[in-house]
């Protein structure tokens, strides 16, 4: 299985982090939502972020493509620091794919049009090329036969796979996932996770906010536990699950693993 979107560039500088977050602080009004976050993400690395609700997981990954603006510290994506420069932001966003909890597909466009909209208007790809790429990726997520349907006609699991294909159509260097399976019925979670595992196997750099610990165990290079806007601990999955260091992490793991 290889979803060939992590391009050759990935190979050249293995050691250089693709995302560097240093001393990141973020407030919503007076509420301190992220506190002194430091995180480097290397190319092809898969990071799973977990933590209780409201701990700042979404805020953190939304800062990476500037859906949220931070007030202190720096975020460098692929060598470019995130600033207020709109043009730069759009360039970074087009290189960073994002998959949302509620899919956020464009309901007025067909599945195929969802996938080709940004390639055509942002990447300036000719329509034929964009269609071809989109069909190829829809095949990879196993729904090419739905390409002419509208999102409203698909099941939740199918919609989320379209959302993944839509993001991949921009041929991003990094993919961000914000609880991609938590709005899905149990029987659909599996099909989405399978797609994500295949994507991981293809060498994509991924940051995934999820509580699917089976997925974390299988694909993560690192698991990060967040609480109250801070990174409490991070480790490889084996150590993270078998001997968590902090009490907070232990409590959290016991809660989500035992239900």
């Amino acid at each position: 299985m290889n979803i060939t979107v992590a391009s050759e560039k990935t190979m050249t500088s293995e050691t250089h982090p693709i995302i560097t977050i240093s001393n990141l602080n973020k407030w919503y009004g007076k509420f301190h939502a992220l506190k002194d976050i430091n995180l480097d993400v290397n190319k092809t690395e898969k990071i799973v972020i977990c933590g209780p609700s409201g701990s700042g997981k979404s805020t953190l990954i939304r800062c990476i493509n500037r859906l949220e603006v931070h007030q202190e510290g720096s975020i460098i994506v692929d060598g470019t620091e995130l600033t207020d420069d709109v043009k730069q932001i759009n360039e970074i966003r087009s290189d960073v794919g994002m998959v949302f909890q509620h899919f956020n597909l464009f309901p007025h466009l067909t599945v195929l049009e969802n996938c080709t909209l940004a390639p055509i208007w942002v990447r300036k790809k000719p329509k034929i090329e964009a269609d071809e790429l989109a069909m190829e990726l829809l095949k990879k997520v196993r729904i090419p036969e739905q390409s002419q349907k509208y999102p409203g006609q698909l099941s939740g699991g199918q919609q989320q796979r379209v959302a993944i294909a839509r993001a991949l159509c921009m041929q991003p260097r990094v993919m961000l996932f914000d609880e991609p399976t938590s709005a899905l019925d149990p029987e659909m979670i599996k099909e989405v996770l399978e797609t994500m595992i295949e994507l991981a196997d293809s060498g994509m750099t991924m940051l995934v906010v999820t509580h699917e610990m089976g997925f974390a165990n299988k694909v993560a290079d690192r698991v990060i536990f967040m609480d109250e806007g801070q990174i409490v601990e991070q480790n490889n999955p084996e150590n993270f699950f078998s001997n968590p260091k902090s009490e907070r992490t232990k409590l959290f793991l016991s809660q989500i693993l035992n239900h």
């Binding site: 493509n65 859906l67 709109v86 759009n90 360039e91 970074i92 966003r93 087009s94 290189d95 960073v96 794919g97 994002m98 949302f100 509620h102 956020n104 597909l105 464009f106 309901p107 007025h108 909209l117 940004a118 208007w121 942002v122 409203g152 839509r166 993001a167 921009m170």
Partner: protein, 375 residues
């Protein structure tokens, strides 16, 4: 378990009790359900009996339609004088220029026919190329209208706007108001939601200013005040002045209708398009507006209805729209005294258009409703 399935007997479908269906029971449930309801029904039946038959007698049975001057009507005062409408139809529909040049009336007739022919498929469902028809209507049709009605090209004689009037003027004012106010209103609605404080403040001020000012005042200002700001001798075309005033006014209402649609679109749509690297205009033009406009069509159409009726206010600056032209015609020496017929006719034409727009918007609302339930 198996036993239970064996003993299951499918009951045959029966009709509902006859006392709950049929015409009689409908009457009982809707018109005579209670004492109050029964009294109301009887009262209104009596009022209808008092007023409707005499009206029909006057408007249809005894009405005059023959002849070409008032002598027929004067001889039979018991009936309406539709002869007046018949004789003055060109004037009431197309204004003074076409009334005095009857050989030219093919121009407005053709212009309005083209409009109708494009409009019909536009409001029907499942018609391909709707987008192109709409673009044609918005950009090409106004040119056709100018060439045909105003003239001055291809040897077509000019009909000066000072002589425009009647339904044709009503149509031209409403069309321009609607078509120009739409893009302006969209920009204002976007401006009102802008993150840039200045743009937002300007949009809010503009919208609230025009919404808070009666159209009649705006038209009056356009007519009396505008010339004060320009050297005397600069003659403004009255029709153009009215069009500007109406467009500025209408755009504020369109903006509010569009804003309603924008508010209904989930924030996730904007975020998803941001995450794909789309800039402000691409996000709005390609993702947000197509969805928002679809939702706001019913309320936009409602503002159109209001505008269509309000065009009569141009009488304040001396323009004669459908209503005022009917009035003028009924006050001419030839037809003095037949103003009721004039008002009825003008009212009837207004009603046809407003009712048409209103049914269309209700149909859309129902369709949106079922669409949303299907999602």
């Amino acid at each position: 378990m198996a036993k239970q399935i064996e003993t299951f007997v499918r009951l045959p479908d029966r009709n509902p009790p006859s006392s709950t269906i049929g015409f009689i029971s409908w009457l009982r449930q809707n018109l005579f359900s209670s004492v109050t309801n029964t009294l109301t029904t009887i009262l209104f039946c009596y009022l209808f009996y008092l007023y409707i038959p005499p009206f029909i007698e006057w408007a249809i049975i005894n009405a005059n339609i023959s002849g070409s001057d008032r002598s027929v009507c004067d001889a039979n005062k018991a009936g309406a004088c539709w002869t007046f409408i018949k004789v003055r139809l060109d004037q009431i529909l197309f204004g003074l220029y076409f009334a005095s040049n009857p050989e030219q009336t093919w121009r407005p007739i053709l212009a309005l026919s083209i409009f109708t022919i494009i409009l019909i498929p536009l409001v029907m469902e499942n018609i391909p190329f709707k987008k192109w028809l709409l673009l044609f209507m918005l950009f090409i049709y106004p040119l056709i209208f100018i060439v045909l009605v105003y003239g001055g090209f291809f040897g077509i004689p000019v009909s000066n706007t000072t002589q425009w009037g009647g339904f044709l003027l009503t149509f031209a004012l409403a069309f321009v108001g609607i078509v120009l106010a739409l893009p302006l209103g969209i920009l204002l609605a976007l401006g009102r939601r802008s993150e840039m404080a200045i743009i937002k403040a300007l949009s809010v001020t503009y919208i609230e200013f025009w919404r808070g000012t009666p159209l009649i005042t705006i038209l009056f200002m356009a007519s009396v005040m505008l010339p004060l700001f320009f050297p005397s001798g600069v003659e403004f075309d009255k029709v153009v002045r009215a069009m500007i005033g109406i467009t500025l006014f209408q755009s504020a209402y369109t903006a509010e209708a569009v804003r309603g649609g924008l508010q209904a679109i989930d924030r996730g749509q904007t975020e998803a398009s941001m995450a794909l690297g789309m800039g402000y205009w691409r996000r709005n033009v390609l993702v947000v507006l197509p969805q928002a406009l679809k939702i706001s069509i019913p309320s936009i159409v409602n503002t159109f209805i209001a505008l269509f009726k309000d065009t009569s206010l141009v009488s304040i600056i001396g323009l004669l729209d459908l209503l005022n032209m009917s009035q003028t015609a009924s006050r001419s020496l030839d037809w003095n005294g037949y103003d009721i017929e004039g008002y009825l006719f003008a009212g009837f034409i207004f009603w046809i258009f407003c009712y048409g727009m209103s049914s269309y918007s209700q149909k859309l609302e129902r369709k949106l409703d079922t669409d949303r339930r299907a999602e």
